[in-house]
């Protein structure tokens, strides 16, 4: 097995390759993730963008190893952390990566926190268990972490229960807990979706500051094209459990190379533009128990052509020679406008 502290040079911090996850339900199989691949470099912010049901959360849970089997089955692919393949590891070994190397925060902090324990104790518990700290040291460190995520009067608030915090403050508590073991990768799944816009701005700023301070890789999962544009270095666009486009963030907004991305950009209203006509994508996101043949986007695609799109699955390929990937047969035409 590879030594995690000393990977070969050039090894990505995190690499997901051809990941497949299905939910086996009574009478049907939901193909939630269908050959997802991406990499995350040290210190990078990668956005995973997609509409609901595109497989963003399930793939993140597969990377974390927190899916429940049954009903979820990881049926293929690899997840490598600094070169070490995690999917095949026995649970005991896998557990040593969770929290310590890869941590995750969620949209709903209430469900991630234990309602009957004081938040300070919950954070301290992580340190007790994983770092073998003494109770006193763990508590001191928990308060430091709460200060680090800018919770005012952290010392006294450590004694409060989750429900005593506002939505934004509770999100901070969850972030403090995720950072307790100083992970190398933080996966943030829609961390600000439930928050008001002014609170969202506070939390995004905090995440950015913390990422800089701690030199983490950040995977930001979101459906919000504005949040992505604001914080990401690179972006992966998901549709029906696969990557349909990936690019450096400015490149993607300036020159989308997939009709789905193009459609999203034309659908989104803007706060900074007057009288903008919206051109929606027709139809709705696909049913994952019956994903369309060929290009999964073809029933909604304004550029689809009978000769290839309904039958031939388009592979994700570099369409500019500079690492801009698109999974569309006619990506060159999309780039051409």
């Amino acid at each position: 097995m590879t030594n995690t502290t000393d990977p070969a040079p050039g090894t990505p911090l995190l690499q997901v390759e051809d990941l497949r996850v299905e939910f086996r339900m009574r009478g049907s199989t939901v193909n939630a993730v269908n050959g997802l691949s991406y990499t995350l470099a040290e210190g990078e912010t990668l956005a995973i963008l997609g509409e609901s049901g595109s497989g963003k959360s399930v793939s993140a849970q597969a990377v974390m190893g927190i899916l429940d089997t049954p009903p979820a089955y990881v049926t293929g692919g690899a997840v490598r952390f600094r070169g070490t393949e995690l999917l095949g590891l026995p649970e005991k070994k896998r557990r040593t990566y969770r929290g310590a190397h890869i941590a995750m925060i969620f949209q709903d902090a209430l469900s991630a926190l234990n309602p009957v324990h004081r938040v300070g104790d919950q954070i301290a518990e992580m340190l007790l268990v994983h770092r073998g700290m003494s109770r006193g040291d763990a508590r001191k460190r928990a308060i430091e972490l709460m200060e680090r995520v800018r919770i005012p009067s952290a010392g006294s608030r450590a004694n409060d229960y989750p429900h005593q915090f506002s939505g934004g403050m509770r999100q901070r508590v969850m972030i403090a807990m995720a950072l307790a073991l100083e992970p190398d990768v933080l996966i943030a799944d829609e961390p600000t979706t439930a928050l008001d816009v002014t609170v969202q701005a506070q939390i995004m700023k905090l995440l950015r500051d913390l990422q800089d301070e701690m030199a983490m890789g950040l995977i930001l999962i979101t459906h919000d094209l504005g949040v992505v544009a604001d914080v990401a270095d690179r972006i992966v666009v998901m549709y029906a459990g696969r990557v349909v486009e990936q690019a450096e963030v400015r490149e993607l907004y300036a020159r989308p190379a997939h009709p789905y991305t193009e459609g999203l950009l034309a659908s989104v209203p803007r706060v900074d533009v007057r009288d903008r006509a919206l051109t929606p994508i027709k139809g709705s996101p696909p049913n994952l128990a019956a994903i369309p043949s060929g290009c999964p986007f073809h029933p909604r695609c304004p550029r689809a052509r009978e000769e290839r799109c309904p039958d031939e699955v388009p592979a994700l390929r570099d369409v500019t020679g500079t690492g801009h990937g698109s999974a569309c047969h006619y990506a060159e035409e999309v780039l051409g406008g």
Binding site: V197, V268, V271, R274
Partner: protein
């Protein structure tokens, strides 16, 4: 004003806050809506924006006469809706309809789409030409397949369910539709479909909308005029361009600056507000925004700023006394234009 179909004056709704399980005593009140006035013009869309808890949904219920106000009035075509008899109220309900956020919970899962859309006729009587025909027509108007009348809500996507809700709202040919977060639960591609549909229907049927949402971009897109709410009050009111391109209230400015735009080359610097919205049980004295406002001075704690057009050099001093080049009501002692997006 003659061209206003709905007039809201000094509307107040306080909910009692009680403690104790057996013997309830009132320990305070939640000031959900606290002195709101505006008019809805015929054929326009008035957007109402603000963060959660600022009173938007309570206001919507008051406009529909589903809640009684603590004080103040709502007049529909010059009739006070809270003074109506039951029969008159029923007539009002034909003319003022509502579309809600959650198409998943606002539709009865055990009713067919045909029954859902036709339900208003069961209360108000069948339309000319018969119920069946009108239901099919309505489904077609909102872009659904009329042959799907016998399907159930779960057989439709989120966007289609919102169309069902809109068809039901249109059934009685209303004049006004109160939309409470109608596209918030939808994905962007579908959200755009529903916004375009609402705009088309407005044109076709001459509808007036009150459009409530927390998403500032959505509100800009759909609204002719916009009211910004904070803690139960309107803090700024103007046409869409005045609010978005010439905001004068610090809260509006902070809100606008906090929205990340879908363009990496045009990110502004957000005005990051400290802390959370104070409790509506005990709002700050004077200006309610003062505890989070970077411009607050002593007068803000003592004098409540009224929602009014402020003359240049008015209450403000020379330094920031100038107001907008596009004058409109703002409830700030130091109202002053600041371009945050442009």
């Amino acid at each position: 004003m003659a061209d206003e179909i709905l007039q809201v004056e000094n509307l107040v709704k306080h909910f009692p806050l009680t403690q104790g399980i057996v013997f309830k005593r009132q320990v305070g009140q939640v000031k959900a809506v606290d002195g709101v006035s505006f008019g809805l013009r015929k054929g326009e869309t008035l957007g109402l924006v603000g963060e959660s808890g600022c009173g938007k949904s309570t206001l919507a219920k008051l406009l529909m006469a589903l809640e009684r106000p603590t004080s103040g009035s709502v007049r529909f075509e010059d009739q006070d809706v809270f003074a109506l008899s039951r029969a008159e109220l029923r007539r009002l309900r034909r003319r003022v309809q509502m579309v809600l956020q959650d198409p998943y919970t606002s539709l009865n899962p055990r009713m067919t789409v045909g029954d859902i859309v036709g339900e208003p006729f069961a209360i108000h009587g069948d339309p000319e030409g018969g119920r069946r025909r009108r239901v099919r027509e309505l489904l077609e108007v909102v872009g659904l397949d009329p042959d799907h009348v016998n399907r159930y809500p779960h057989q439709f996507s989120g966007g289609q369910r919102q169309r069902i809700g809109i068809a039901r709202a249109l059934a009685l040919r209303p004049d006004v539709i109160i939309c409470d977060e109608p596209v918030s639960a939808l994905d962007v591609s579908v959200q755009a479909q529903v916004m375009n549909l609402l705009a088309d229907l407005q044109k076709e049927f001459g509808l007036s909308y009150v459009f409530i949402a927390h998403d500032l971009a959505v509100v800009r897109h759909i609204s002719d005029r916009v009211a910004v709410m904070y803690l139960g009050k309107i803090v700024e009111l103007g046409d869409e361009e005045q609010i978005y391109d010439h905001p004068t209230h610090p809260y509006t400015q902070a809100l606008l600056s906090a929205v990340p735009v879908p363009d990496p080359t045009r990110q502004g610097t957000p005005i990051v507000l400290e802390g959370d919205v104070p409790s509506p049980t005990n709002p700050p004295s004077g200006c309610r925004f003062r505890t989070r406002c970077w411009k607050a001075r002593d007068v803000c704690a003592t004098d409540e700023p009224l929602l009014q057009v402020r003359a240049p050099g008015g209450a403000g001093d020379g330094e920031d006394g100038g107001t907008s080049g596009s004058p409109h009501p703002s409830a700030c002692h130091f109202a002053d234009e600041k371009i945050v997006r442009g």
